[in-house]
Symmetry: C2
Subunit: 616 residues, 2 copies
């Protein structure tokens, strides 16, 4: 194994430095000055003049903000924040009844990897999915409305589904491999019992093609390792998914050291069509209502292949012929030949078996080891077989070519890139042109804003032989992964269609009313430039109040908000939308309500009063 | 009164159209194309090349998002979101104990008008304040850390302090005039008793010059009108504050129509030094612990002057010689001469008295009526006496000059500007150069993102005779006002100073420990690249758990997060910072915790386990 021969001393040095916590490998200090011709080139390419639209949408995870960011490329302007796992008082997300239910009692999520729906391996602009690493969930955003429409989970038996979302080429499935091992049935077991009682897992989620709705399909029981990232096969490798592992040492403490001992970990290749068949054949056990397949009892589903020390990303090439493992603690990117892998499986060309999983002969399936740089994390693809790998430790992006297997160009980024994202980079036909480095550290790149720094996106022009940084923008924490889709693939609606059948909606002032049933008060109201009907709501202290509000302004961009002073209530109604809020009128007195979203020249007049009559 | 002669039919038409809800006056449809020389000029001026810093910080309110946005000018990049009134899972704001307490049980706020601290009428870069229109609060952000350090309120007796924050020239005070009238003591009164039992109010907040900490000073009881915006006098008008009114009709329903009937409303001029003296002289009543001055009983504090129909903004010129009222429902901006106003007060040149407030003779104090355009809302100032007024209804910015009193140039913006902000525009010496129009509607200006639109900022170059739009960026809802400060005036810290005296902090692995006292468990932990100490926390179901976590990586931009799976917990520790979280261990089982903020190449290894032993 080539990388075994020379990377060890270097990596030990890096790890030692990081363990000591005082070695900063990435460059720091003032940025290199761009020449005036470079600046001219950058602004010609990246500046989007007022009134013109960006060429691409970038959907970026918001990390522990819980949200999704919609960013224009090449301008890098954040067009919108889509609330997903965390509340957003700007839009009333998590405050109105529908979105409160959607959030399921959680107040945050750790949104990691967005995935656009695909048809025949190409982004189709229908939906975008994202995982929640913290609470074992996934969300679906409908790109007609850009609103979160479904959140599933917490799904039982899994813990920290970091390695999602990466959809299959026709959005049949996505795989949520877990980062953390736990007792898989949710029981209590001490860490001393880790090796025998803890497990990793993979959750397959199936997607309804019409609605985008997600359903937990089946689970795969996996060894007590950490699983990091995954990708779906395509073309010749369609039907397979690939999953990186670390901590195959099965350490429970100080993983920084104890999970960095093995020279190699694994990439798992999972035959999800075989898993589907196993479920059909009844080869599963039901645990907490989930269909769990144990690969030891259902062979032919999971195979392992050695991967250099704690690999991070795994990425399938656009043609589906290779899957590429990124070293993290090794300076190489390994390309595996899928055809050779399939042959090795057929020939039982195995070198080992770990926990019932056959280990395919590395030397039989390894196509190349590309010397990408220090800390290669992720690889994205452009046109003509070009590949772009982010090197976290040395703060570069390396360009190399499938088949040539050597680095052709490198560009220094600022600083420490995690994922990168290329235009249509996860499809069967990437566009080339743009690559965005999602840098974890910004340090001195923008006006200082105190100890809490933004992350830093850098736009790289990848059209020429030499990569060129042409734009840069700070961004709130924390984009992990992003996907970039051609703008014309998405056609959102501008207003909500008038829904005459919604029993909560009313469409005229005449229908506005307040109904009382015991201590339950229900308000049917409208918001229209620039008034609420009704604009006086009288209730008694202790009443349970429900307000249904419909925005009857069927006009683009005319949003109304509804806030009640001191009642900690705010939500919004988009044009044509009806939303509902419920609360207990537990504070007596006089409380104004008002439109919180500037809607017209008479917006300030759009107000009313809620009078809460005190108990005698 | 000049404007009385001709504006009536036009305004009636506008109002009728808006009431009907179907007249869209602002331009719509595709934007006018910029010429290639205009584009070249725009990108030369507005594009900030990678690695270069912006020239100015813009502090923008985030409206009902509850937050403050820090934006670079001229790039219009959002550098940071500072959480203020709403939780932010990205930074753990509202999750850790300190910030949870700061939020005071509220989950949102309606942040309206940021105000930078001033010394001698110039921004000094120490603090920025902002009001919460929903919950009668104000917040102070320390610009050393860019963190919210204090929130006061809800303050009793006031309701909807929309007209803040506009600090006095040495940050002695800011005035929170209320938008809504309510029974001032918080009692319950029906709307039928509005005229006799409801009141507006003004809350003066004093500011500690060393710490920036705010204290409620005194309140002014005002008529049952709506108060909209305010500004502080400076130079000759220092010691006074100006406040616009609407709904002097004292309507309680359908304000859109019923508060738009009077030909004029008022601007109130408040002598806050006289109010200070009145408090010293004991001329106040204590209501709910607040010192309330009744101007009828303490004359010489409040005066009124007529202002065209429902005025919106009021703005004091840099030299303090004029205050300018913006018409909203009248097409004019009125400039009042402060010296003449003072003389009229001295001469008792009054035309009326309303609710005990003398009304100064309009004709004696009016310096000019500038025909700005349809729906003038706010005026900002540049160099050499130039003024810039946003016209909401006609979607323009009008440039005019103090003394010349006529419009010199107009530029169409997209669409419907609310406030505008000029570089150092609220100081005694504005910089000119840049003006940002904070447009309420974006419509077709950016890639479509469904029914929920962003707002739209446009950067206008105001250096030449003709104004020129040179940059444009979408922004999440909703910037109301913003202030733009020269970048070199702010010098934030990069890390938190190591605080050896904080009893919750520990600075080495050796001090990491878990203490138990009955069912109370206290963890003293550290976060350091790339591990937590301790990394195993064993508790019993039902325990009350407190975790103090210190980030001992004293290195710029090395933030660690701390999330616990399924426990809905996430917070962060900045370099050198200690934060605390408390929760009940009410779910038995095994729960990983992990660093949520990508911190190093071994970030994925930065994890541990919380084991919650089930009750027998």
């Amino acid at each position: 194994m080539k990388f075994g021969k020379w990377y060890v001393p270097m990596v030990i040095g890096i790890i030692a430095g990081m363990v000591a916590g005082n070695i900063v490998i990435q460059p720091d200090g003032p940025a290199p000055t761009m020449s005036s011709s470079q600046i001219a080139s950058a602004q010609n390419k990246a500046f989007v003049p007022p009134g013109q639209h960006d060429e691409y949408y970038m959907f970026s995870s918001g990390g522990h903000s819980g949200q999704m960011f919609v960013i224009g490329v090449p301008s890098l302007r954040r067009i919108r924040t889509i609330p997903v796992f965390s509340p957003d008082s700007a839009t009333g997300y998590g405050y109105d009844e529908r979105t409160k239910e959607l959030m399921g009692g959680f107040t945050w999520g750790d949104a990691h990897h967005p995935s656009l729906s695909e048809t025949n391996g190409d982004y189709d602009g229908r939906f975008v999915f994202i995982n929640d690493n913290a609470n074992n969930r996934a969300a679906m955003i409908n790109l007609k409305t850009f609103h979160t429409e479904q959140i599933i989970g917490p799904i039982p038996n899994i813990m920290g589904p970091h390695s999602a979302v990466f959809v299959t080429p026709n959005t049949e499935y996505f795989m949520m491999g877990t980062r953390f091992s736990v007792p898989m049935d949710g029981s209590y077991k001490e860490l001393e019992q880790y090796k025998e009682s803890y497990n990793g897992a993979l959750q397959a989620i199936s997607v309804d093609q019409k609605t985008g709705h997600m359903t937990p399909a089946w689970q795969l029981k996996l060894p007590p390792w950490n699983f990091d990232l995954s990708d779906a096969g395509k073309g010749p490798s369609d039907g397979w998914a690939f999953l990186t592992t670390y901590n195959t040492e099965e350490a429970t403490h100080l993983l920084e050291v104890n999970a960095s001992k093995n020279e190699t970990d694994y990439i798992l290749a999972i035959n999800w069509k075989a898993a589907e068949q196993a479920v059909k054949d009844g080869k599963f056990e039901e645990v907490n209502g989930q269909k769990v397949i144990d690969p030891e009892k259902a062979p032919g589903i999971v195979y392992a292949v050695a991967a250099a020390k704690s690999p991070h990303g795994v990425d399938v090439t656009p043609d589906g012929k290779y899957f590429v493992g990124n070293g993290k603690l090794s300076p190489i990117v390994t390309a595996y030949d899928f055809e050779k892998f399939k042959q090795a499986v057929e020939n039982k060309d195995f070198t080992d078996e770990v926990r019932g999983i056959p280990v395919v002969n590395y030397n039989s399936v390894m196509a190349a080891e590309v010397e990408a740089g220090l800390g290669p994390l992720h690889t994205q693809f452009g046109t003509d077989g070009y590949a772009y790998t982010t090197n976290f430790v040395e703060s570069t992006v390396a360009k190399w070519k499938i088949g040539e297997w050597k680095v052709l160009d490198k560009v220094t980024v600022h600083y420490s890139p995690g994922h990168g994202s290329a235009a249509e980079g996860d499809t069967v036909s990437p566009d080339g042109k743009y690559f965005v480095a999602l840098n974890k550290l910004a340090k001195d790149r923008h006006l200082p804003v105190g100890p809490s720094h933004p992350e830093n996106m850098q736009l790289i022009d990848i059209e020429g032989d030499k990569m060129e940084i042409i734009n840069e923008a700070p961004i709130d924490p924390e984009p992990h992964y992003a996907q970039i889709i051609k703008a014309d693939k998405i056609n959102p609606v501008k207003i909500y269609e008038k829904d005459e059948n919604n029993p909560d909606a009313i469409w005229s002032e005449e229908d506005a009313r307040i109904e009382r049933n015991g201590n339950k008060v229900t308000v049917y109201g409208i918001a229209v430039r620039s008034r609420f009907y009704p604009d006086e709501i009288k209730v008694n202290e202790g009443d349970e109040v429900t307000i249904h509000l419909t925005n009857i302004d069927l006009d683009q961009d005319i949003t109304h908000g509804f806030g009640i002073n001191l009642y900690d209530i705010n939500f919004e109604v988009q044009p044509g939308q009806t939303n509902t809020i419920k609360f207990k009128a537990d504070k007596p007195g006089v409380f104004p309500f008002y439109c919180t979203n500037f809607c017209s020249a008479l917006h300030q007049e759009m107000q009313g009063y809620m009078l809460v009559k005190p108990k005698e």
